[in-house]
Amino acid sequence: MGSVTATVAPPTDAHVTPWFRTFGAIVAAGFRRHATYRQVAVAGLVTNTVFGFLRCYIFLAATDAAGRVAGYDRAQLATFVWAGQGLLAVIAIWGWTELAHRIRTGDVATDLLRPVHPVTSYLAADLGRAGFAALARLVPPLVVGPLFFAVHVPRHAATVPLFLLSVVLAVVVCFGCRYLVNATAYWLQDVRGPMILWTLGSGVLAGLYFPLGFLPGPLEATLRYATPFPSILQVPLDVLVERESTATGVGLVGLQLVWAVLLLALCRLVQRRAERRLVVQGG
């Protein structure tokens, strides 16, 4: 027999490729799961659109004689509002209690029986959900807004790809925060308290109720650089409306990446601590 030359893939590749396949399959399943609820998407879209008009008129009323406020002109404000309305569903800032529910009912036990870490598995499913929301909930407000308001059209070629990257990171950062809020159920069982705090806090601190530029400078800077909240909404919207230079935008997206990594690491840490003291409810 002749000699056999075998090409052995490096061990990392052997593990990384299947890992990505598994991750991709869970992302696709997350997309399909949410695509089954189309009426929910339509109802949410109508609500987002109505509130889009309200918020847009309120913010535009706050502009000065030159048509500017907090570093935004009127077109930038309109874009901020309409893209923000669409992003709400993509980042799923409110209403995700699936993990808390599964902890409370004990169904989380089945999550732990899979050969994928729960944080990885929930993140992949959430990215799939976000993918569907991007199509069903982000695109329509971006179409409706310009029909009724003068909006800001990006001037730099890098803006759109940077915005898309920023949205993906916003989803990851928001997921990390939501996972941590849900994970309090391991200790508290009932997450209504933390959930109310999150709903109130995230809306204000992420720049949903008003752009953080409306706040006094030191407070805005503290929020922007020392908390993950602006990474959820304010950063991708500022990137899209080109409030800062492209270089500053890249820096802000880099900061988002740092928060995403930190929060996912924290989620894994919290999950590990929780598993040590886990009590599976319901036997």
């Binding site: 399959a25 036990a109 899979r114 598993e275 040590r276 009590v279």
Partner: protein, 328 residues
């Protein structure tokens, strides 16, 4: 080497109980209290006990979901908690009251997703799925979202989902709970077929003792977190004095209860016209012959010992024990 090993496995939970208007006290509850057990490859083990005995807790420690308070557990040579994700590839788990399927997706999509999650080669996955489709009649609801399945259909889906990655050990926690007779038979038939192949070790907890009778040669009874019986069903009957019964229908009641050597009268019914004798040392023929000399026999039937009765007696005797212990 045994496929499952437990040495002094123990699990304690801390609960807070009200001890005054505002005060709460911490109390330690022992759910599993030093279980030692070995399960060999291919064995079908029935693991039973009353509610709160520690069955599900044991299973959750063996699957790595719960961290033991003390003791050692090893499954397929792995430590369940430390090696949980590696162990997940080698075991299958079915919880009768929980679902591992994706609620919003059709069963077919759930199975496909599990192929990727467990990284099963497409050929092996297809072969196993084909086998399960045949044995469990999955085809009629394979494209139905899991949320729309009946309990029986879902359980057949759960069994398939637990087996698609070819696990060495299958843990079943009350897999027939709430199922109708037909679905129960389908599940039992499937598990019996699986057990016959001898490739998969099966650990089954249930309250339906018919599951155990049909499937398991070895029975482990746990109560208050301790093993109180480990042996065959026949050994359990022998230990707790389960006896076969002879039921004799008479034309007319006897003036006095008959005394048959080796077969005491267990009870008399229908105004003394139906007598039930417990077989101890006497044979059925001796009982029938003895009765025929005393009365005109209409009918005779033999009742096999009832596992439910013996297990109920076992639970009660175990329960009374600790209650009688001072301070217990």
């Amino acid at each position: 080497m045994s496929v499952i090993e437990m040495d002094g496995l123990r699990k304690e939970f801390t609960v807070r109980v009200k001890a005054g208007r505002l005060r709460r006290e911490k109390r330690t509850v022992t759910a599993v209290d030093g279980v030692d057990l070995r399960v060999e490859r291919g064995e079908m083990l029935g693991y039973i006990g009353p509610n709160g005995a520690g069955k599900s807790t044991t299973l959750k420690m063996l699957t790595g979901v719960l961290t033991p308070s003390a003791g050692r557990a090893e499954v397929c040579g792995l430590r369940p908690v430390a090696d949980r994700t590696r162990l997940a590839l080698r075991i299958g788990v079915v919880f009768g009251q929980r679902s591992q399927l994706w609620w919003d997706l059709p069963l077919r999509d759930s199975f496909d997703l599990l192929r990727h999650v467990y990284r099963v080669p497409a050929g092996a996955h297809a072969a196993r799925l084909t086998r399960c489709r045949g044995l469990l009649d999955l085809d009629e609801f394979l494209d139905t979202p899991v949320r729309q399945l009946s309990l029986g259909q879902r359980m057949r889906g759960e069994l398939t989902a637990a087996l698609l990655h070819g696990p060495e050990v299958l843990f079943l926690d009350e897999p027939t709970i709430g199922l109708d007779v037909v679905s129960k038979q389908a599940v039992r038939g499937f598990l019996a077929e699986l057990g016959r192949s001898g490739d998969t070790t099966l650990v089954l907890t249930t309250h339906d003792l018919a599951d155990i009778e049909r499937l398991c040669r070895r029975l482990v009874v746990i109560d208050h977190g301790r093993v109180v019986h480990d042996g065959s069903i026949a050994e359990l009957h022998h230990r707790y004095g389960s006896r076969r019964m002879v039921v004799a229908e008479l034309d007319a009641a006897l003036p006095e209860p008959p005394a048959l050597p080796g077969a005491p009268l267990h009870r008399a019914e229908a105004d003394g016209r139906r007598l039930v004798f417990a077989l101890e040392s006497a044979s059925v023929a001796e009982v029938v012959a003895g009765l025929a000399g005393l009365a005109t026999l209409r009918d005779v039937s033999i009742v096999e010992p009832d596992i439910e009765e013996v297990v109920a007696r076992l639970y009660l005797s175990e329960r009374r024990g600790p209650l009688l212990t001072p301070g217990g």
